[in-house]
């Protein structure tokens, strides 16, 4: 195979959607759960990202991180540092972070006005 790793085959152009200033909200329940998780320590941040995959094409990715190499917007929501990767800002603008307290399917939930559909488990969206 001629893999063309020289200049003979240039990378395909990726259409990068315009970055938007993310507006993000958090329910009282989610704030309480984060308060439990963080305690008084505010050195860490909640990273709210999007990965490709899942039943609907995109999956939410929530992590508690100290820092990240991913270029992010940094928000202060109810006293918590929240990081949103710039590359997925267009998918996350307007979201609400909620916490659902139930035995099955409980945990942090994202309510996303940009999602045209989501899968049964709620972890992925399109």
């Amino acid at each position: 195979m001629d893999c063309g790793t020289c200049e003979s085959a240039s990378p395909l152009q990726v259409h990068v959607p315009d970055e938007v200033e993310v507006d993000l909200t958090m329910t009282d329940k989610a704030r309480d759960m984060l308060t439990d998780a963080f305690g008084d320590d505010r050195s860490h941040a909640l990273l709210v990202g999007v990965l490709s995959g899942g039943c609907s094409g995109y999956m939410y990715d929530l992590q508690i991180v100290e820092s990240t190499e991913t270029p992010c917007q940094e928000l202060n929501i109810n006293g918590f540092r929240v990081l949103v990767p710039r590359a997925s800002s267009h998918l996350l603008n307007g979201i609400e972070i909620d916490y659902v307290d139930r035995l099955m399917g409980g945990g942090f939930k994202i309510n996303n006005p940009n999602a045209s559909s989501s899968c049964g488990c709620g972890e992925s969206f399109a």
């Binding site: 195979m1 990378p11 395909l12 990965l51 490709s52 995959g53 094409g57 999956m59 559909s117 992925s124």
Partner: protein, 217 residues
């Protein structure tokens, strides 16, 4: 034994975490060389591709007219991941056959689900040993669906004979909910069959037999 030249495309993916990226968008378990099917949310086929691992790079080999659609699909889901996609189709020729062939030096050979795939740079002279008709008869004999015939965007993988490329326990991917529901309920709607000629609405017509996708009664 033989090899047939097919019109196809080769996309070279370079970067990090390429296999997990492809795994999240296709129906088979992609953790090494394999053949997999990229589906949309309705589980309709975008394209079926062979996945070749070449050092740290990955090549996707497709056989239909869906290069642009698949490329756009992949690019739309990159989301800032460190993966670059190069279209190296024009630098190579793609051959597919039954694996009983002597391959010229410089050939990249992959045992795929559709057959043994051989990719040669344009500078390598090679005369295919199978005609289009040979390849067609081989496919009908072995009930192998293929791009432009059975593997099209009008069908889901189960309908066109690609059930073996739908992994049953790999977890979520685009179209997985629909395919899992079909499998668990045993309702596939259509199926690929081989029938003696004449066959009305055949997708691949052979000398004595043909392939056809028929509705399951």
């Amino acid at each position: 034994m033989g090899l047939h030249h097919v019109d196809g495309y080769v996309l070279l993916l370079q970067g990090e975490n390429i296999l997990p990226f492809l795994d999240g968008l296709s129906s088979n378990l992609v953790n090494g060389p394999c053949t997999t099917v990229f589906t949309d949310r309705a589980a309709k086929i975008i394209d079926a591709c062979d996945v070749l691992v070449i050092g740290e790079n990955v090549a996707l080999v497709g056989y239909g007219d869906e290069k642009d659609r698949l490329t756009r699909h992949l690019l739309d889901h990159l989301l800032g991941q460190n993966i670059q996609i190069r279209d190296i189709s024009s630098l190579n020729k793609i051959y597919i056959g039954d694996g009983e062939e002597d391959y010229p030096p410089g050939a990249t050979v992959h045992e795929g689900w559709f057959g043994t795939v051989c990719i040669l740079g344009n500078s390598i002279d090679f005369e295919p040993t199978w005609t289009e008709e040979d390849w067609r008869e081989h496919r009908i004999q072995n009930v192998i669906p293929f791009a432009k015939h059975e593997v099209t965007s009008r069908h889901h993988p189960f309908a066109c004979g690609l059930a073996e490329l739908v992994h049953s326990s790999k977890g979520c991917y685009l179209g997985q909910e629909v395919l899992t529901r079909m499998r668990s309920r045993g309702k596939f709607g259509h199926r690929l069959v081989v029938k003696e000629n004449p066959v009305t609405g055949a997708t691949t017509v052979g000398k004595a037999h043909s392939l056809s996708i028929e509705r399951i009664q």
